[in-house]
C-alpha cells in the first residue's frame, strides 16, 4: 500500500485543477495543493472542516441538502455548463468555479470527489464578449436612431420645400415634430411690424389644451436674446412651466431672430437629451431658412405687383399722351395746311387774273409769298411724317434691299433722269426690315446724294454693303459737296441744315427720319464726309436674316 499511497498522492497533487474529497458526513477528507492556492486555506485548516466552508454563506444552508441528495444517488457528473458556482476564499472574497463530481468506494468508506476549476478568467472573457456584444447592440440601436433622425430631417425638409404657403407648412411641421420627438410643439413668428404670433401648435394628444404650457415669458426671452433655453429635467411636471422637459430654440436667419420653436414634454417619462437639442437646432435652422425664403418670395411678389401696377399706370399715361399727340397731328394735318392753301391759291389767282397790273417786283414778291407758303406746307408734311414714325408699328419681314433701292430710284426719277448720274448698286443681302420704311431710308439718302451732287458734271452714287465689327453694314456714297465733320452732330437733327437754303432746298427732316427708322429697327447710322469730297452714310439693321 505504501507505494500506491505515494502514487495516489503524487497523482492528486499533479492534477491541474483543485480536488476535494468529501466524506458522506460532508466533511473534507483531503484537498490538494491547487485547492490551498485557490482558496487561501492550508490543508490542515480544511481537512475535517465541512465542505460548505468553501461556499459563500448565503449558499451554505441550501448546499447541505444538495450534498446529502448526491450521496443518496451518486453519479459521476462531468464538468460543464450549469455547474457554475460561486466559491468563497478564506478572506471572504468570492470567485466563480466550475465543479465536476465523481463518487468512489474506498477502503476508508464512500468518498465524493469534487474537481474544482477557477473560471474567473473564463468568466471575465465571457463578460468581455458579452459586453462587446452589448456594445454592438447599442451601436446598432444608435445607428437606427440616427437613421430615424435623418429620415425625420428629410421629411421635415421635404415638407418645408413643398410650397410657398409656409404657414400651412409650419402646422404640418409641428405635427411631424410631435409625432417624433416631443409632446408639444409650438412655433412663434415675429411679424414685419414686430408683433409676435403663435402660428403653429401641435400636441401628441389632440385634445390637450395649450394653456397648460406657461412658457410665454421664456419664449419672449428667447426671441429677445436669440439664445436657446434648454431644461432637460424639470421636477414633477414643473408647475410654473407646465412641462417636465423643455427646449426653446430661436429661429434665426441673416442674424435676425424671426421666431422661436418650442418643444415640450408633459406626459411621458422621457426627457430631452443633448441629441434632441441638436435635432431641435437642426430643424429650427431649416424652418428659419424656409420662413426667410417664403418672406423673400412674398416680398418679391409684392414688389412685382407694385411694378406691374406702375407699368400699367405709365402705359395708361403714355396711351393718353399718344392719343393727344395723334389728335394734335391730325389737327395740324387738317387745319394748318388749309390757310396755306388759301395763301398760295389766292396769290396764284392774283397773279393769273391781275398779273398784268403788277410790275416785275410786285410779281416777284407775290411769287415769294407762294414759295413760302409751299415751303411751310412741306415743313408740315415732313414733320407729320416724322412724328408718324414714332407711332407707326414696324413690321419686319425678309426683304431684298436691292429691290427697295431700285424702287426708291423709280420714285425719285424726276430728280435724276435729266442728269448725268452713274449709279453703282451692289447686290445687297436679304435682311429683316419693314419694307416701306427701309425704302423710305433709301429714298431719303438717295435724294440727298442727288441733291448734293448737283454741281458735279457726272455724279457717282454708290449703294453697297460691307461688314463692320461683324455686322452687315449698308452704305450710300456720293461724290458731291460733302460736309464738314465738325457739324456731324447736327446732321441727323430735325430741321438742321448744313447748307444755305438758296443752294440746297429742303426742310432738314430727311436725315432725322432716316435715323429714326434705323433706330426703330434697332440699328445705328453714322456718316463720313469732307467738304468738296463727297459724303458716305452707313447704317446697320438688327435682327438680320
Amino acid at each position: 500500500m505504501q507505494p500506491s499511497e505515494n502514487l495516489f498522492k503524487t497523482l492528486v497533487e499533479a492534477v491541474p485543477g483543485g480536488i476535494v474529497a468529501i466524506k458522506p458526513d460532508g466533511t473534507i477528507l483531503l484537498v490538494n495543493q491547487q485547492i490551498e492556492t485557490m482558496f487561501g486555506y492550508t490543508r490542515d485548516e480544511l481537512i475535517g472542516a465541512p465542505l460548505e466552508t468553501l461556499l459563500p454563506e448565503r449558499f451554505r444552508h441550501r448546499h447541505v441538502g444538495m450534498r446529502a441528495g448526491y450521496f443518496a444517488d451518486p453519479k459521476t457528473r462531468p464538468m460543464g455548463i450549469g455547474r457554475d458556482l460561486a466559491a468563497r476564499r478564506k478572506d471572504g472574497s468570492e470567485f466563480p468555479v466550475e465543479i465536476g463530481l465523481s463518487y468512489a468506494e474506498t477502503p476508508a468508506g464512500p468518498v465524493t470527489l469534487a474537481f474544482v476549476t477557477d473560471i474567473t478568467e473564463r468568466k471575465q472573457a465571457e463578460a468581455a464578449v458579452l459586453s462587446a456584444l452589448a456594445g454592438e447592440q447599442i451601436a446598432h440601436s444608435q445607428t437606427a436612431a440616427l437613421q430615424q433622425r435623418i429620415a425625420f430631417l428629410l421629411e421635415i425638409s421635404s415638407l418645408l420645400a413643398e410650397s410657398f404657403d409656409y404657414r400651412t407648412r409650419l402646422e404640418q411641421f409641428a405635427q411631424l415634430v410631435v409625432s417624433q420627438i416631443a409632446d408639444w410643439c409650438v412655433i412663434h413668428l415675429v411679424e414685419g411690424d414686430g408683433t409676435v404670433n403663435q402660428v403653429a401648435v401641435a400636441h401628441r394628444d389632440s385634445e390637450a389644451a395649450i394653456d397648460t404650457l406657461q412658457t410665454s415669458d421664456l419664449i419672449h426671452a428667447v426671441l429677445q436674446t436669440g439664445q436657446t433655453e434648454f431644461y432637460p429635467t424639470l421636477p414633477d411636471n414643473n408647475q410654473n412651466l407646465g412641462c417636465s422637459s423643455l427646449i426653446i430654440v430661436p429661429l434665426i436667419t441673416n442674424e435676425r431672430v424671426v421666431g422661436a420653436l418650442t418643444l415640450a414634454i408633459t406626459t411621458s417619462k422621457h426627457q430631452f437629451t443633448q441629441d434632441d437639442l441638436d435635432l431641435a437646432h437642426e430643424i429650427a435652422r431649416r424652418a428659419a431658412l424656409r420662413i426667410e425664403n417664403a418672406r423673400l418670395y412674398q416680398q418679391a411678389q409684392r414688389l412685382n405687383a407694385e411694378l406691374e401696377q406702375r407699368v400699367l399706370e405709365r402705359t395708361a399715361q403714355l396711351e393718353v399722351a399718344n392719343r393727344e399727340l395723334e389728335a394734335f397731328s391730325y389737327s395740324i394735318s387738317h387745319d394748318l395746311r388749309a390757310p396755306l392753301r388759301a395763301i398760295d391759291g389766292f396769290s396764284r389767282i392774283l397773279l393769273r387774273d391781275y398779273g398784268a397790273q403788277l410790275d416785275n417786283d410786285g410779281q416777284r414778291r407775290l411769287e415769294l409769298v407762294r414759295s413760302n407758303a409751299q415751303q411751310m406746307g412741306q415743313l408740315i408734311d415732313d414733320l407729320l411724317a416724322f412724328s408718324r414714325l414714332t407711332r407707326q408699328s414696324i413690321e419686319k419681314q425678309a426683304v431684298s434691299p436691292t429691290a427697295l433701292v431700285y424702287r426708291a430710284l423709280d420714285e425719285i426719277s424726276s430728280e435724276h433722269e435729266s442728269r448725268q448720274v452713274e449709279f453703282t448698286i451692289e447686290d445687297l443681302p436679304v435682311c429683316q426690315a419693314d419694307p416701306a420704311l427701309l425704302k423710305q431710308v433709301f429714298v431719303n439718302l438717295l435724294t440727298n446724294a442727288l441733291k448734293f451732287t448737283r454741281q458735279c458734271e457726272t455724279a457717282h452714287i454708290n449703294v453697297g454693303t460691307c461688314t463692320i465689327e461683324g455686322q452687315t453694314t449698308y452704305f450710300v456714297k456720293d461724290n458731291g459737296v460733302g460736309f464738314d465733320m465738325r457739324y456731324i452732330d447736327k446732321l441727323f437733327g430735325v430741321f438742321q441744315r448744313l447748307h444755305a437754303m438758296e443752294d440746297y432746298e429742303g426742310t432738314g427732316v430727311g436725315l432725322a427720319i432716316v435715323q429714326r427708322i434705323i433706330h426703330r429697327h434697332g440699328g445705328r447710322i453714322w456718316a463720313e464726309g469732307a467738304v468738296g469730297e463727297g459724303a458716305a452714310f452707313y447704317f446697320t439693321l438688327q435682327g438680320e436674316a
Binding site: S329, H334, D335, R341, G345, I349
Partner: protein, 147 residues
C-alpha cells in the same frame, strides 16, 4: 340729260377751299352745273331731296360727289356711309377731297367704298391739275350704270 341738272356736288365747309375749288373747276371748264353745300347734313338733304332740298327732282342723278372729311354737323365719313347704304345713291362716284394725309382716314374712306382719295395740296398749281384730272376722268371718261 337736262341742262339744269346738277352734275357735281361739292361738300366743303371752308369758304376759301370752296372758292379755290370752284376756280379750279372753272379753269378747267367743269363748273357749269355744280352745287355747293357747307356741311354734312345739307349734303344728305340734297342727296335724299329732304329739308331745304325737298323740292329737288330726285330722279336726276348727279355724276360726282366731292366730299371733304372734316365737316360740321355730320362728318364726311358718316355722309359717305349713308350714301353707300342707300340704293338710290350707292353708285354715285365719291371722291374724297381733304387736307388729311392720315392713314386712318384713307383706310376708313376706302373701306366705305370711295372711288378716289385726293389730298388737297398746298400748291394751287397741283390742286388745279388734280381737279382737272378728276373732273375729266369721272365726268367724261367714266361710264356709270344708268339709274
Amino acid at each position: 340729260m337736262a341742262n339744269d341738272s346738277v352734275e357735281i356736288l361739292l361738300v366743303e365747309d371752308n369758304p376759301n377751299d370752296v372758292e379755290l375749288t370752284l376756280d379750279a373747276l372753272k379753269e378747267n371748264k367743269l363748273a357749269n352745273r355744280i352745287e355747293v353745300v357747307r356741311d354734312g347734313a345739307a349734303a344728305l338733304e340734297f342727296l335724299f331731296c329732304t329739308g331745304a332740298y325737298a323740292n329737288r327732282d330726285c330722279s336726276s342723278q348727279i355724276k360726282l360727289i366731292l366730299l371733304d372729311l372734316k365737316l360740321p354737323k355730320v362728318n364726311g365719313l358718316e355722309v359717305l356711309e349713308q350714301i353707300r347704304a342707300d340704293p338710290k345713291t350707292r353708285t354715285i362716284p365719291v371722291v374724297i377731297l381733304t387736307s388729311s394725309r392720315e392713314e386712318r382716314d384713307i383706310v376708313q374712306s376706302y373701306q366705305l367704298g370711295i372711288n378716289s382719295y385726293i389730298v388737297k395740296p398746298v400748291d394751287f398749281e397741283q390742286f388745279t391739275t388734280a381737279v382737272k384730272h378728276l373732273g375729266f376722268y369721272w365726268l367724261l371718261l367714266n361710264q356709270q350704270p344708268r339709274g
